[in-house]
Symmetry: C2
Subunit: 93 residues, 2 copies
């Protein structure tokens, strides 16, 4: 009746990050931080978890001389996000 919710996505910040990444080609750390209002530390940790799960990829480079961390959602991430949304609907109706 109530499907199990993916614990990796059932977190306010990780869900917000995935929600953003699901809608854009890529987003960098600073952008995600602004949009979510998260602290850097928290965001850094949650990005690590999503990366470890294979839901996003992280590319480190430089914009001019400043470091820049770019995130993208993966296929697996898109799928997990879709599944999560479907599962959640069971709880909300």
């Amino acid at each position: 009746m109530f499907p199990k919710l993916d614990p990796l996505l059932h977190s306010e910040l990780r869900l917000a990050v995935m929600s953003i990444l699901a809608g854009v080609d890529e987003a960098d750390f600073t952008y995600l931080k602004k949009q979510t209002g998260a602290t850097s530390g928290n965001l850094s940790v949650q990005i690590d978890k999503l990366t470890a799960a294979g839901y996003i990829t992280v590319e480190k480079g430089f914009k001019g001389k400043m470091p820049r961390t770019t995130c993208r959602i993966t296929e697996a991430g898109q799928e997990a996000f879709g599944n999560y949304v479907e599962s959640l609907k069971e709880y909300l109706k």
Copy 2:
């Protein structure tokens, strides 16, 4: 952009309990346990939290000689659940 999610409801088991209670007049402990598949311990704890928040009420009585715990959602609970659902939609689109 991303509204804060009520932490009391953003929990798999508490959400399932609220989802059930939102749709029925009342439900007892055993019923909630069966429907959610939760362990008694976990269910007991989460019911306490929902009660402390004023989202549900608990009435203890007996069915024959056996103890029976009946739960009902409150007005505040209905409202919080509705708000939560609305907030969550922002994350899913």
